[in-house]
């Protein structure tokens, strides 16, 4: 198994009442409520948590990015990836990921990622995302062309990584006279690409067509099984068999010395009233053209309050159905076993704390995970045959069937 540590990097030091008064904590919630003194402290605490996660035995550190909202302070995952490339030694740096449609110059992204891969000595996993709806609005990118830009930027980046330049690119959204960046990735044929997602069928199908692992983000067990069903069907059509090495799963998991304390801290996963991406107007989270046309009717009804929020499950429900894991290692390990047995992923991300959970409690959670939870999960993984893409020597992708390895490695 490949076990990853994750945090949204919550910016908890802001005036919550101001958010409630405004009625939203995303996109249009004023950044006058951002306190850079607290921001500086929190960034450094999060760096400390990442280093601790490496020291206690995590295999990977998962990074993401969001914009204009206190639920996530990380506005550019390549910045933290660069820092971790230089300050960690062993963990994979797993970007889940760079929002491709936001890039007006994907070649620049390809260069940055190549630099991170070289500085980290080939530890980069370069996931790509479409970016949330609010990300499109925050950066001025047309939501109606989100998927086109995602796919074209991906194709351009992979070509930039794998074909010697110079070459010319005349696409629909990107035109480049000269593609010939001096820096290329250390890993050959190219760094592994993993694709995280929540809902969109189109993304699952695309990931399976590329033979890239799909990472389900905090979905519940039955929905996750449906994702694999869809993935495996497309994999079969593409001439390969899906399975654990193509499956990742991120779940919220807080460990403490007592169940009571863990549950109290785990309630912080609901700090934005349960909205991962902050409280927002539905048309900010899903601007027209961004979401799958098959959801149009359901979405417009939700947008005007005729339908309840599909993500609106209560804390108790989410604890019950395994979307939030909380307790002592003894309580939580059997629950992780159940998730693994039911959904059979080989990549597992643990989103360990959120909201106002203290620096000390977060450190304690990471330490307990390393000492007790991770070794037990590894044993379960072996027993269930959940071999990660690294352990299984899985192909880099459909286009490049050989596994990714650093150039010059023995």
């Amino acid at each position: 198994m490949h076990l990853m540590y994750f945090t949204e990097q919550p910016m908890s030091a802001y005036n919550e009442q101001a958010g409630r008064d405004f009625g939203a904590t995303a996109l249009m919630f004023s950044n006058k409520h951002f306190d850079p003194v607290a921001g500086s402290r929190l960034y450094n605490e999060y760096l400390e948590h990442y280093r601790l996660a490496e020291n206690v035995g995590f295999d990977g550190i998962m990074l993401n990015e969001h914009h204009n909202a206190p639920f996530c302070m990380q506005a550019k995952c390549n910045v933290f990836a660069s820092i971790l490339a230089a300050t960690t030694k062993r963990v994979k740096i797993v970007l889940l990921g760079n929002p491709l449609p936001l890039a007006d110059n994907p070649v620049r992204l390809a260069e940055e990622l190549a630099m991170i891969d070289m500085v980290s000595c080939g530890r980069l996993v370069s996931g790509f995302v479409r970016g949330g709806g609010q990300e499109q609005l925050a950066t001025g990118v047309n939501p109606a062309y989100n998927r086109e830009r995602f796919e074209e930027a991906h194709d351009l980046i992979v070509k930039t990584w794998t074909q010697p330049g110079p070459f010319r690119w005349e696409g629909t959204h990107y035109q480049h006279r000269v593609v010939n960046p001096w820096a290329v990735p250390l890993q050959k044929p190219h760094p592994r690409v993993w694709i995280p997602g929540v809902l969109s069928k189109e993304t699952i199908i695309w990931a399976a067509q590329q033979r890239y692992p799909y990472i389900a983000l905090s979905t519940e067990i039955e929905a996750t099984k449906k994702i694999w069903e869809q993935y495996d069907k497309v994999a079969n059509e593409c001439g390969y068999a899906g399975g654990p090495e193509y499956r990742g799963y991120l779940q919220r998991c807080h460990i403490a010395e007592t169940d009571e304390k863990a549950l109290a801290n785990a309630r912080q996963f609901m700090w934005m009233q349960g909205e991962f991406t902050g409280l927002a107007h539905p048309v900010w989270s899903s601007p027209s053209g961004y979401f799958s046309p098959s959801y149009r009717q359901a979405f417009v009804e939700y947008a005007v309050g005729r339908r309840s929020n599909p993500r609106g499950a209560s804390f108790e429900e989410q604890v019950h159905n395994g979307q939030i894991l909380a307790g002592t290692p003894k309580t939580v390990i059997p629950r992780i076993r159940k998730l693994l047995e039911e959904t059979r992923p080989s990549i597992m991300g643990f989103w360990s704390a959120d909201g106002f959970v203290s620096h000390a409690d977060t450190r304690s959670c990471i330490r307990l995970m390393g000492e007790e939870v991770l070794p037990a999960v590894r044993e379960i993984g072996k027993e269930l045959g959940l071999w990660s893409p690294f352990e299984a020597n899985a192909p880099t992708g459909r286009k490049f069937p050989e596994p990714a390895v650093p150039a010059g490695a023995v």
Binding site: M28, P143, A144, V283, G289, R296, V300, E301, A303, V304
Partner: protein, 258 residues
Amino acid sequence: MNWTSETVPVAGVNLQLSRAGSGAPLVVLQHDVGTPAGLPFYDTLASHATVLRPAHPGYDGSERPAWLRNVRDIAAVYHALLAQHAATRGRTDVTLVGLGFGGWVAAEMATQAPAAFRRLVLVGPMGIKPERGEIADQALVSYIDYVRLGFADQKAFDRIYGADPTTPTLEQWDLNREMTFRVAWKPYMYNASLPHLLGGVSTPTLIVWGRGDRVVPLECGERYAKALPQARLSIVENAGHFVEMEQPAELARLIGDF
């Protein structure tokens, strides 16, 4: 009034076209939110003219061409539609009436063919960047709130759409909004070269603005009037952006007198 509705292939795009009346052709170009069928304003126009009311490509049942990505492309499609009409009906003395976003399309058409039209009527058109205010951005508000913003009197909205519009109406607004994003996302709802190109338009133009327009600031009307050599600006009281829905008789009278 007897309206016919048909699907017309124009420049490879299947357009929904409504038609009624007789006499000189008058083309009505619609808002970004589309239009309810059967507004009294359209009937009044059709009692004096052959009214052609196409739904923009990608709006209100017209096909969405994947390649069509800016407002000038829509204008070019309509030039092709009018060429077809002229070939079959032999009338070229066309009056263009553009409502809001449709007014922007009409203005672009006029710059592409500066002497082709008999008259131009622009009602609260987008297309020119305001110097002081902003054009209201639908990307940040819900479907209902955006359409309500276009009314000075909310009771008029309730009367036309119902206080709580149906789900199919919302779905159509979402489809129309998606197409608007495809053609007018950035810069939002204007073309920086339009004010310059309008200087070459010799068509007599009536610009109409609802006094209470909260979607496109009245200063844009003043800028249109300054940019077009043969234009005058008329302001309609007790109307917002949707003058044809709030003051249909007054708007029809202004057009008739023009």
